[in-house]
Amino acid sequence: MASKTVAKDIITLRGSAAIVSEFFGYAANSILYNRGVYPEESFAKVKKYGLPMLLTEDEDVKSFIANLTSQLSEWLEAGKLQRVVLVIMSKSSGEVLERWNFSIETDGEVVEKGESREKSDKEIMREIQAIMRQIVSSITYLPCLDEPCVFDVLAYTDKDVAVPFTWMESDPKLIANPQMVKLHSFDTKIHKVDTLVSYKNDEWDDQ
């Protein structure tokens, strides 16, 4: 009897950390492009996750994100990363306008015992694809950012993590009374990533 089985791939802790940190790099680029934080011309198209994705060509932003993803990967492998938030702020006033919140649940057993898990790579890719599509579609409800903006990245880790050299402690930069939209999540079976975007509820009498 012919049966269709989904080929499962072996996922190690290191592999999973790589998938998640890579995802974050691409997601950050996509957000910066779609929300107009940097000009369109400064991005180049590549293929990833079966989609045309945009990556910045700006050297500073590139290296910022590269440092970021390698640090995230380290924390993910140690099972210490709880959340990563990309914050978009007004350049002139510093007000937080949007937060892209990626929350991570780690399978503690894997970290402790060095086990591996099984899941189809394709399926993980499909899940990531769905999130990327939602990021692009979110123009449907997000307010227009018609002023120059800057971004920053916050990482929430376990308390016992030492603050690395290029990072500093910060307040959470929350939005008061935000509108929040939960997007899709993806799961490597070792790390589960939930995505949420929160934005400022724009009132009619704002400038």
Partner: protein, 380 residues
Amino acid sequence: MEEAQAHSILDPETEFLASKRQTGNEWELFKENVRPLKRGRKIDVLNEALKSHSDKEIRKSLHDQRRKLIEAIDHYEGDDPLQPWLECIKWVQEAYPPGGDCSGLVVIYEQCVRTFWHSDRYKDDLRYLKVWLEYAENCADAEVIYTFLDVNEIGKSHALFYISYALHMETKHKVKTANEILNCGISRNAHPVKKLEDTFRKFLARSMRMPKTRDEDKDENHLPARSFGTLLAKGDNSKRTAESYDQVKRKQKADRAPLAIYKDKNTDTGLDHQLEMPKKGLNTWQTLGGRADRNKENSALPSKWTSHKIPQRPGQWVGSTTSGPIIEVFVDEECPQSGIVREKSSTLQFRQVDNKELKKETELLRENPLRNFPLNSLPR
């Protein structure tokens, strides 16, 4: 990069994530039906609204909700009568994600602006200005609205007015006008000034890149741009005969333009006239007359036509007691006027009209946004 320690009190995002509540996915499923709003949308309202297009129950509740908001406008007793209008407008925007003619959005913009246009209190109110600007965006030609705002000094202290106005003129290729508008705003110190200056800089950069424009004479705003007859009369440029009509037209306008462009920005008295508009006859915009005067078209009794005589056809008159050249127009005093009621604050309109009427009125307004304004307030 910054690292934050996890807090014991849950922030709204953590709380939301932990709660396992889901956001509906209607927004994504029906994203083609959603007109993005500059100010963004509330996600729950959006999802509900999108559901309604397939659900009679929800559609009925939308109808009821609209009625409630209109009643709130009618019964408001506080000191900011614009507020309930804004609530209603915001709701219509969110409840009808695609916008469109049946939403009544354009109609309510119009009613709102018409209610307060003569009010000093809201002349400088940013919220009120924004309603006007949204209305303008929905019309076939917003220029008449911007002119109206300018003459009536609505929003003149806000950078947003000049930015929107200039952008509109720019899209009509009236770059010189756009330039003057932005300059005017800057000289009037419209706030936030920095935003205005940034916009101006970007505008200049864009206009450097653009090819020389082919129009610009403001006095000919509403006239078609043909003037073959005068071309040959001007004989001061021998090259003219060799050039195409287009180039000649451009040159001709450029010859006239210098008179319009330069304004001495240093004199204070000059400021109010920086924005050059056809000034003749505009005093009529500023006087409104009393309410009775404004509504005279609705309350006037039919009377003899004094200016135009229509030759009478000799023949039988049925049902008329008077003979002679008087044509009496029959007015049924008891019949409620269908559609547009202008006596009250016209919010009654919503209850009486149906979707078709809303659509029709919307179309009419798009073509002629000031059509309901009293005749003596419009530019000649």
